[in-house]
Structure formats: C-alpha cells, structure tokens
Subunit: 197 residues, 4 copies
C-alpha cells in the first residue's frame, strides 16, 4: 500500500472503524488475544494509524470499559432512585431490569467487555450488590417466601442470574429484555399479595 492519505479517506470514519473492530475483537477474543494487528487488519488500515486515534491498546480497552460503566451506572442509578419507597417494588424492579437489559442488547459487545471481560467489572458488580443490599434493607424489600435467605445472598444470586441469562439468552437473542426481566422477576419476586411487610 502506498504511503500517505488514501483517496476518500476520513479520519472520523477510520477512528469509528477501528473502534468498532476493536469492540468486536475484544469482546470476541478478549484483551490478550486481540492484537493491534488484528484490529487494524479488520479495519483495513495499518498499525501506525491505530496510534493516530488511540493512545495505546490498554487505554483503548479502558476507554471502552469506562464507556460501558458510565452508561451502566446511569441506568442503574436511575433505577435505584425509583426503588426508594416500598410500594410497587416488583414493577420498579422490572423496569430497572428491563432498562439494563435493553442497554445490553443494544450494546452487546461493549457489554461483553465492560460487564464480563474487564478487571474492573468485578468491582463494579460488588458496588452494585452493595447498593442493592442497602436499598433492600432500608426499604425492607424482599419476597416473603425468601425470608430464610440473607439479603446479601439474595442479591448476589440475582446478579449471577442476570449475568448468566444475559450471556446465554439475551446476547444470543434468544430472549428479549422484556421477557428476561419478567423471568427474573418471576424467579426473585414471586407474585404475592404484599411484597413488603
């Protein structure tokens, strides 16, 4: 390939392309198995071009992770805000789950990176769990039938379900966010006369 600018080339487009390919490859094969050479090959560009738009492989990965986390926190915090107050917990939980899962389907590869691949994902989930436990404790939420289960356990279990169902049912498009949110609600907040006591 000759040196210099290509016909019809655009920086914005190239950067976008690299970003897309990076997300695809990172999510498909993980950080270590994705080489810069893979990314630029997929984008039909060369390695120096990568460094025109990104500082380093690591920083690109971190940026992607941050992007995910930011969006996720926004949605999660929005949902949590609704949860305060103890009526209609079931409905509110459903709404929050649906929002989260909707974001996931709309950004499947970013989700794989930020929710499953990155080192920071685990910390984020721990925080998540902490917040949920707190809210549930303060507002005295938890299905009556689960009265024998510690709230912390309840929450971690739910998180695990969310993780696995996302991976196997949502991102494989076997189920929609709505369906999955309903499933989870059915499992963790079985319908009852009164959810709180």
């Amino acid at each position: 390939m000759a040196r210099g600018r290509r016909v019809n080339s655009s920086g914005e487009r190239s950067k976008q392309l690299l970003l897309e390919k990076a997300i695809e490859l990172f999510s498909a094969h993980g950080y270590h198995q994705t080489k810069i050479s893979d990314i630029v090959k997929a984008a039909n560009l060369t390695q120096p071009t990568f460094y025109l738009y990104f500082h380093s492989k690591e920083s690109l990965f971190n940026d992607l992770n941050s992007e995910f986390q930011k969006s996720f926190y926004d949605i999660f915090n929005g949902g949590l805000a609704q949860l305060e107050g103890n009526e209609n917990v079931r409905k509110k939980m459903f709404a929050m789950l649906k929002d989260i899962l909707s974001y996931f389907v709309q950004n499947p590869n970013l989700t794989k990176i930020g929710f499953f691949e990155s080192a920071e994902a685990e910390e984020m989930k721990r925080e998540l769990a902490d917040r949920l436990v707190e809210i549930m404790t303060v507002h005295n939420i938890q299905g009556s039938m689960l009265e024998h289960v510690d709230t912390r356990i309840f929450v971690e279990s739910l998180l695990g379900s969310l993780e696995r169902l996302t991976l196997t049912k949502l991102l494989t498009e076997k189920r929609t966010p709505e369906m999955l949110a309903e499933d989870i609600i059915n499992i963790y907040f079985a319908e009852q006369e009164e959810l709180v006591r």
Copy 2:
C-alpha cells in the same frame, strides 16, 4: 555454577510443585498473565525443568482444566442419577449442590480455572444445563411458584447463581457448602406441600 540434578530432588516432587504453583498462578491471574517464568520462580525451579514435565504452557492449562471437568462431571453425574424419580427432589438437589460446592471449596483454585477461566468451561456449563433441563422436563420437576418460568431459563438462572455465589461467598469462605446449598434451594425450590405435579 552448579548444574544437574539437585540433591534430594525427585521428579515427582518437582512436578507436583510446578503443578501447585501453576494452579495458584493461573487461578489468581489468568492464563495470559501467568508466565512460565512466574511458575518456575514460584516453584524455585528453572524453565527447562518445566518442559521436563509438561509439554507446553497450553497443555498444562488444558490438563488442569480436564482434571477439573472430570471430577466435576463425576459429581454431577452422581447427583443426576439420584435425581431420577420425582420424590424428594428438594433433598436430592440439596445433596447434589452440596457435593458440588464441597468439591469447589476443596479445590478452589482448580475451580477458578476449570469453572471460570477456561474456554471450555462455557461448553461444559451448556451441557450441564442441557442435562438439567432434560431431567427436570422428563421428571416434571419445578416448583409450582415458578410455573411461569421456562425450565431452560430456570436452569440457567440457577447456574448463574451458583457461579456468582461460588465466586463471592464460597471461595471467599464467607459461606460453607451446606449453607450455600441451602440458600440456593431456598431460592429455587421454595418449600411447598408438593414440589411436583
């Protein structure tokens, strides 16, 4: 500097040591971030010694994974065999979970590798889920309260809970296998007059 066989050295001992350190490091930092040099350093041996006992880094990892899978399948299949027949499902499930979790606590690092790190883990879990779904369907198991939840979803959710609780509660020794098995049973098989119909 001295070379050759060390006094008091035994091949088996060296191999065992390398195995242990490899398990520790792979489980702690993952495959790619664990270098052969790290393993042998931890074992106080040298790199060529590694190749005396293992064909390659990859094959060692695969061996460890296989070891885990074999044990796991044994336990799982044992449990499944009990499950056939539809009385006392709750108890049998509890027993199976307890067995699995017991194996996990006894082999925490191998579990991290074989259940969480390896590429084959996912496939194994898929199989697991398949078998569980099959059994549950054939024997018509599933709590009445979950009648609105598809069996496949139910099973994947349970698997997710198992994963996450193992990681956050069992391997951190915050909960025993018994406790955790009970928790899961309480969540997924809430006590009822009759579990099956």
Copy 3:
C-alpha cells in the same frame, strides 16, 4: 475541517517560523530528541508543511550547521588575516575572540547546534586549530611563559577554554563577549614586555 492555504499566510513567514523553532528545539534537546512533530507543533503548523520548505529533517539540521559554519569561518578568517604580522598579537587576538564571542551571543542557539551539537563541529574545530597553529608558528607567537608548552597543545587548550566558557558563561549571559575575551587573553597571553621573540 478546513484545509488549504490559511488567510494571512505567507510561505516565507512559515518557513522562517519553522526555522526558528527548529533552531530552538535542536539546540535545546539535540537532533535525535527533536521530532518533526515537535517543530511543527511549536510553529503551529503541520508536518507536510515542513516538507514544503525543507527536504528532510537531516538536511535542515545540516543547513543550520552550514549557516553557522559559514558565519564562523568568515569571522575567524577575518580575525586571522589581522593576526598576520607579529605586533600587537594580544590586541588582535582579543579582537578576534570578541568578534567570535559576539557572534555566539547573538546566535546562541545556532551556536549550540553548529559549535557543539553537529558532527561536523569537530572537524571544523580541528581545522581551526590547524590554522591557528600554523599562524602562531609562522609568526612565532606565544607567550614566553608558555615556552614549555607545545603550540598545538596551547591552541587546543585555548579552544577548550573557549568552548566551555562559551557554554557556561557566555550563553548563560553571565559574562559579555568583551569580558570573556579579556579573560581568555589574560589566561593565555599574560601581559609581558614583549609577546613575541
């Protein structure tokens, strides 16, 4: 984004700017640590513009070096011409040194490049020394007190003093050309009844 010729731009101005910045940066950080990207950034221009005016990084550096050498040779040769004849050597030497040092202070960065940085500087100094030795020998100049010192050594020593004093006292503006010329004369041509014999 806008491309093409800027309003108010003039080729000469851009070239001059690049030249200035290049001199600054080459003199401050040396050839290898000065990147084209640094130069154009400092000049608020872009890399291709650099190649509009200069053939390459190396050729620019060489040009700068040549510019210095040319000026230097002019001054030096002028001074040498005066030196022919053996009266008033002290005064003539002083004048020559002052002229050289004046040029140095007026072109501090170019001096750093052409007198200290460039590979050719050494060759130039060798020539310089040769010429000085020749003149001094032919005209039988050299302080009586230094009768035990070989002329070549005398000259190289003086050159070394010139180098170091330029670097540490002149270019740091701790001393004027006049002062420094006098200092050197005082060291190398201590006042005597008769300078020559």
Copy 4:
C-alpha cells in the same frame, strides 16, 4: 541459528562481550545511534540475550555512566583531599590531573560516555567546578599572573582545556597522561617563586 544454549557458551563471557560492545558503540556513535541490534550483532548474539543481562538500553547506558562517575569522583575526591593546605599546590594539582588522565586513557570509551556523552556529565562538571572553586578560594590558590582572572572563570577554563585535550590528545594517544598533566599545569600554574599569597 538454532535455539537454545550454544556449545561452549558462558553467561559471564556473553555479558562481558555485550558490555564491551555496548561501550564501544555508545562511545563511538552515541546513545541514539546505537541500536540494541547493533550491540548484539557486534557480540554475535541475539536481542533477547541482551535482555538476559541488562534491563533495558537506557539502564545499561545509565549503568555505564554511573560506573564512570563513581570512579571519577573517587579519583577527584582523592586529589582534592591532597589539595587542602596550600603548599605544593602545583605538584598536587599535577598529581591529581595525572590520576584523572590516567583513568581516562585506561577507560577511553567509558570516558567518552561518562565525560562527554551522558546528560549527567554536565551536572557532574558543574559540581566539579564548584568544588575546585571552593578549594581554591579557601586556600587562596591561584597563580599570581592570573590575579586578574576570576577564580570561577579560571576553573571553567581549565575544565574546558581538560575536556578538549582529553578528546584530541589523550584519547587519540598523541600524548600520555603525564605529558598532558604537565602541559595543563604549565598553562594554568606557571612556575613561580610562590604560588599562593
């Protein structure tokens, strides 16, 4: 070249070889123009071998520089200690210079690196000059004929002479340490009845 250990190879020897070649090349072409590939090629080894013995190109260079500086400081401080007290300054100066120059001839390439190439060289020389000025001031040393020259200037001039004569006469083996030390003494400490006042 086949992989693995070569016949008759020795780590000590390889390291030494690399060190030698590195010193040669760094001193001949400077830091930036000396590639690791050059060094290992000269040593008939491969690049990874370099990293078996040195942490990085930069650290190797720094090590070499430090080695020079340490030796130099030792010699210099030894010389300075002798200088305290004001009799026989001429002799003591001669001795010190001879020691320094002797070290230089014995380590010509290291000298080029540590005294002429490294960034730290300048700082070292500044310190050197400071110490000399201090000693000369305190002990009231300085040739009578140089009474019109500021001590600082005197010292910097001497240092410049030392630099240049080292480069052009000593390292080219045109003059021995003894001869050069004498030359410098003759220039800067012209014989007199009394050196101090």
